[in-house]
């Protein structure tokens, strides 16, 4: 079969690889009908995330049709079912899964020992996202092996297009969880850093959950125009001061809830601290750029909440932790517990409350994937979200 394969920094190729097969009784094989490039794939593309190996198949946002089912998954899935596959693989039986903490499933990471060593305790297995999270082949491919498939799926009813439901596998629940874990109240101002695909979903989620005011921060004009369309007040950080504008919009008190939808690759030319981060990163003295975290800690109203769906990979430097402690800020973060949210979100899509396909700006064949990685990474051609069709 054909797949997008990681070969090194900024080197993704459309290769021929072996077809996946059922390896465990709870597996299923899914023929991919649509997949997407996620913002967090760019951390792999730029090789800021450790644990990638040449030959790894990328992709963790995908959906398709079940074409083969292992013996123990047959009670939940059958050939012909149309499914979205969550990027977090969950067993449904461990202590964490029973609590709904699917992104830290204790059993789905087959490289548990490696993750135990690095993180202290393992987190869940993820599709196409380094050997630290299991080294599973990803979904930017014609076929995918889905482990723990009896749990790790969202069944899609007839009448919905791929484009409407594809993002249930990642960016929609990720944006939703980012807003939900802020416990948004009708009096809240929610500031969101980053208007990429997750930021866009977060904006809509915050509006639907009833925030009084949603403020979106970015520098890319087309992203800002899409953010505005979703109901956000926008701040272009290259044109005005984020701190001053947020204070102005909140009567000097600061937003109650701040969301980092950027992660480890914060833009590196706007401020001195981000230049410092980027320089340290280039010299391998630091893994992540923490500008957004610092700015959130600074502007957030005391006793407010910081929500972090943006992906971080390792070490950050010069984070004013004392500021956070003294202001009594609550930090909430983590990979998305996808299936916690999907039943509710699927219903909202079916009822027409939201159509997540608004975010798609580019739809191309899988073979064009390598070029689209570069287009998406460099924010060229108005690119906000790429869907690939194998």
């Amino acid at each position: 079969m054909k797949a997008l394969v990681w070969h090194g920094t900024a080197d993704v190729r459309y290769d021929t690889v072996p077809d996946p097969e059922i390896e465990q009784p709870r597996d299923a094989i899914v023929k991919v009908t649509s997949c997407a490039i996620c913002g967090s794939d760019l951390h792999l593309y730029d090789h800021f995330m450790p644990g990638m190996e040449k030959g790894d198949i990328l992709g963790h946002e995908f959906m398709g049709e079940v074409v083969d089912v292992g013996a123990e998954a047959k009670s939940a899935l059958k050939v012909g079912d149309r499914v979205v596959v969550p990027f977090t693989i969950w067993c449904g039986e461990c202590d964490q899964c029973r609590r709904g903490n699917y992104s830290v499933c204790e059993r789905s990471n087959r490289n548990k020992a490696m993750a135990d060593k690095l993180f202290g305790h393992t987190t869940a297995g993820l599709f196409g996202y380094t050997h630290l999270t299991g080294g599973y082949a990803g979904g930017q491919a014609e076929y995918v092996r889905v482990p723990f498939a009896d749990r790790t799926h969202v069944k899609i009813p007839d009448g919905l297009t791929d484009e409407q439901v594809l993002f249930l596998g990642d960016i929609f629940p990720t944006g939703w969880q980012a807003a939900a874990q802020c416990d948004i109240q009708p009096t809240d101002t929610v500031a969101i850093w980053g208007c990429g695909p997750v930021g866009q979903m977060t904006i809509r989620s915050a509006i639907l959950l009833g925030a009084k005011q949603v403020i979106a921060i970015d520098r890319v004009p087309e992203r800002l125009s899409m953010a505005k369309a979703g109901g956000a007040i926008t701040i272009n950080f290259e044109e005005e001061s984020v701190v001053e504008r947020l204070n102005e919009l909140t009567g000097g008190k600061g937003p109650e809830k701040c969301i980092d939808a950027v992660g480890m690759e914060a833009h590196a030319t706007a401020t001195l601290d981000s230049m410092y981060d980027r320089a340290k990163q280039a010299l391998a003295l630091e893994s992540d750029r923490a500008h957004v975290l610092r700015e959130m800690m600074y502007v957030c109203r005391p006793a407010g909440t910081l929500s972090i769906p943006g992906v971080y990979g390792g070490l950050i430097d010069k984070v004013p932790f004392g500021m956070s402690m003294n202001k009594g800020l609550t930090w909430r973060m983590g990979q998305t517990h996808v299936n916690r949210w999907t039943d509710d979100l699927l219903r909202r899509i079916q009822e027409g409350q939201i159509d997540p396909s608004f975010v798609i700006t580019h739809s191309v064949g899988l073979a064009d994937g390598p070029g689209m990685y570069q287009t998406f990474r460099d924010k060229r051609d108005g690119c906000i979200k790429v869907v690939l069709k194998p």
Binding site: A10, R204, L209, G210, P221, A229, D344, D355, R380
Partner: protein, 174 residues
């Protein structure tokens, strides 16, 4: 917003010059006195060290920052400074005048490369610029956002994601 395309020939050249800058800068930092002696500029060792620090900073900027152009302009300005400093040492009273001439030639060659690279980066920017797309019709919501505000207030937010009452910002009940 500045346009820059990583992996273009201009960008690769800029990165190459970034590594060169770091290498030269480190050499100037650690061997400033020896370099100064070689060029008959013994009293200028401190200045050479300062130039070394400048080279390292410019090199890191070229490697680390997205838009290479300001850093390339920094290199061009630095080249001018180097040429002026070397020219001032290129006089009959300097017994190492020939070495200074060699250094002048090397810096002039690098200056030409820097100017070429800067011009290529600017040409790339000029040819690649397109007006930003307008996505103001892409709300994803069936009605205007103001009308959709709070439409999902009934969403099941689990207890572990609820804010403790004491940290809520709702107006205090009287």
């Amino acid at each position: 917003m500045a346009y820059y395309r990583r992996n273009s020939s201009a960008d690769r050249m800029a990165r190459g010059l970034g590594w060169f800058s770091i290498g030269l800068g480190v050499a100037e930092l650690v061997a400033a006195r020896r370099l100064a002696r070689w060029m008959g500029m013994e009293e200028q060792a401190g200045l050479i060290r300062t130039y070394g620090a400048r080279e390292v900073a410019t090199g890191v900027g070229l490697l680390a920052m997205g838009d290479a152009r300001p850093w390339m302009w920094g290199r061009v300005a630095g080249d001018a400074l180097d040429l002026a400093t070397l020219a001032s040492a290129h006089h009959d009273g300097n017994p190492r005048r020939e070495n200074v001439a060699t250094a002048l030639g090397a810096v002039a060659a690098v200056t030409a490369l820097d100017v070429l690279c800067t011009a290529m980066l600017h040409r790339e920017e000029a040819t690649a610029w397109t007006p930003p797309r307008d996505y103001s019709d892409r709300s994803g919501l069936p009605r205007p956002p103001a009308a959709m505000r709070g439409a999902a207030k009934d969403a099941p937010i689990p207890a572990d994601m609820r804010t403790p009452d004491i940290l809520r910002f709702e107006p205090a009940e009287v």
